[in-house]
Amino acid sequence: MIHEFKKVWKPYTIGLVWLLGLLWPLLGIHPDGTLSFGKTFTVWFYIAVSASFCLLLYVMNKSGRLDVVSRPFTGFREAIKQASGKLPVWIWILILLLFALCYPQFTNRYAQDVATNVLIYICLGLGLNVVVGLAGMLDLGYIAFYGVGAYTYALMNLHFGMSFWVCLPIAALLAMTAGCIIGYPTLRMRGDYLAIVTLGFGEIVRILLNNWMALTNGPNGLLGIKAPSLLIPVFDGGFSFEVFYLKKLQYLYYVALALALITVIAVRNLNFSRIGRAWEAIREDETAAELMGVNTFLLKLLAYAMGAIFAGLAGAFFAARMRFVSPESFTFLESAMVLSMVVLGGMGSIPGIILGAAALIVLPEVFREFESYRMLAFGMAMVVMMLFRPEGLIPAKRVGGRSEEKGG
């Protein structure tokens, strides 16, 4: 243990001193021309204590002192793994599905709200997964399609009174068109050029939504969007249909669940189809894929369009659920959020992304008491996650390493 500690104490101490140096100017210099040290030291002391605790755990783990505690855990995990291996996968899926179906029966409004959020983000994450995880194109403006979908339903509903179910395909179609418009000029670019252009498009869409007062009502947003409705046959005194609005959270949850299921099935089928394999070929080596007869231009455009469709669907649902849309919901931070779900969960892996979406939505809700520290912790968690498990929570099975990355 001492040996392990010797290896790390030096960078650790330098890091803490460095932190103190960086913290003090922000906390200790006051505009009235005075300097203070008390507050800085308190804050620094808390950080230092918790960091030391983490260091101690790390060192103990490295030197094997934690085996007493961790061995039963490992054994437990192995046992679960073995037990779960005995049942076929479809039974697990069935259990999960049953749980998802029963979920609103034994939870309150708040939990349902969070769950609906998770389902929306599963749609978004899986859609982005098509672009980033399968086709390997880094898209930083993905949330723009979500915005297009949301505003499509909002405007169609407000101006023409069209119902949610009619607007859903229209929203998907418009988002797809937007995807093609954005995709077409960017297809010639690669790598980081693509990243900044998609980021630029995302910002353009947000600024348009913000400034086009006549159409979108600017930063005030659009109010009074109707919830999804069902036509229910009524039999009293003849036969007629009654419009029934799915305003209750419980019903909305089921709509979201249906959307998420459709997305999961669609992305899974795409992934294991000829198209999915072609996308993966493009991701691994575009030139080689083209040489093997993959129509890279068309398939990359298709990846964009497919990704946009799922975002459009999720967007339309978002508008129907909130019954209010404003450009605030479609900022770059949201794009970053969806991207981190994809990468944290494991690129190209559907269960991984579902888990990633759930983790990134639920964890901040759990720590709601620490409201102001939430995003700070989120940023830190992202870095820590990348440092210790960069391949994601549940890595995809079919992803091969690139030769370039292995070489470093």
């Binding site: 460095w18 960086l22 390997g136 353009i204 575009e286 991207l339 102001s372 700070l376 990348m386």
Partner: protein, 303 residues
């Protein structure tokens, strides 16, 4: 015509600031092929440390007696602070990921960006922080055109920093080592250039330039906010890409173009959409020349 020249002057001022920020992106990208998303936050941190120091000097009463000295001290200290901040960020969040996929490093950078902007918010508050405004009031009137002293200071400082950077990169041994590391890390380490030290240095220089830009933006607009790093950050990144990412001269040119486009777009077309013009120019330039104005052909294997 007067209006045009006035806009031109404003455009040069803003373009110079974008160029300073863009250099940090382009230099880091040139050395380790990483989009340093936290760079915009380093710029914001520069603005904040600048306002803290300047108000401290004002509180001591030195601002009236030695304004130039105070400003110089604030610049030097802030640039140093941000350089140390950037080196810490590099050591903690990027260095362990150098062998991982580039997306992992990118996400780590996003995380750092969120962390830093929220850290600024927690320590400095959510509201705008006003710069001491007595500095560089007034200006020279030539006919209908006004050139503020502040603008002259900003342009002068920008030119000074850009020339200094050019000398550093193209005329000194350190610059040679940086260029060598950017070209081939393995080869340069074989001729005993410590690539870790060069990467740290690159981050430090880039952050120092961004910090200077942060103070000048604070002085120019009168206040700073914790989230002010985001938009200038992505516009400066756009400038770096426009000029051809990895190319220092390209970044300067790109920054100038983006600044000009923004000012002229706001002046002649629409002020509301000023943020859009920069991206439209970027997209149309990249459509016809996908590697930027001065960029070389990028490697096919890069994701």
């Amino acid at each position: 015509m007067d209006y045009f020249i006035q806009q031109l002057i404003n455009g040069i001022t803003l373009g110079g600031l974008y160029a300073l920020i863009a250099l940090g992106y382009t230099m880091v990208y040139g050395v380790i092929q990483l989009i340093n998303f936290a760079h915009g936050e380093l710029f914001a941190a520069g603005g904040y440390v600048g306002v803290i120091l300047l108000s401290y000097f004002a509180g001591l009463g030195y601002m009236e007696t030695y304004p130039i000295l105070c400003l110089a001290a604030a610049f030097a200290l802030t640039m140093g602070y941000c350089a140390f901040l950037a080196m810490a960020v590099e050591k903690v969040a990027y260095k362990p990921l150098r062998r991982q996929s580039r997306l992992a490093a990118l996400l780590s950078a996003l995380g750092v960006s969120i962390f830093l902007s929220n850290g600024l918010m927690l320590t400095q508050g959510v509201y705008d922080k006003a710069y001491p405004s007595e500095l560089f009031q007034g200006g020279i009137d030539i006919g209908m055109i006004t050139i503020g002293y502040l603008q002259m200071m900003i342009v002068g400082m920008t030119i000074f920093l850009l020339v200094g950077l050019n000398i550093l990169v193209f005329k000194t041994k350190i610059g040679m080592a940086m260029r060598a590391t950017a070209q081939d890390k393995i080869m340069s380490s074989l001729v005993s250039i410590s690539s870790n030290r060069i990467i740290s240095l690159t981050f430090a220089i880039g952050a120092g330039l961004a910090a200077a830009a942060g103070i000048m933006v604070g002085l120019y607009y009168g206040s700073v906010r914790y989230d002010m790093g985001f938009l200038p950050g992505i516009k400066a990144f756009a400038a770096a890409v426009l000029g051809g990412i990895g190319n220092i001269t390209g970044a300067m040119l790109g920054g100038l173009i983006i600044g000009m486009v923004e000012i002229f777009g706001a002046g002649y077309i629409s002020g509301q959409y000023k943020d859009v013009f920069a991206f439209i120019i970027l997209i149309s330039v990249l459509y016809f020349k996908p590697t930027g104005i001065m960029g070389e052909n990028i490697d096919d294997t890069r994701v």
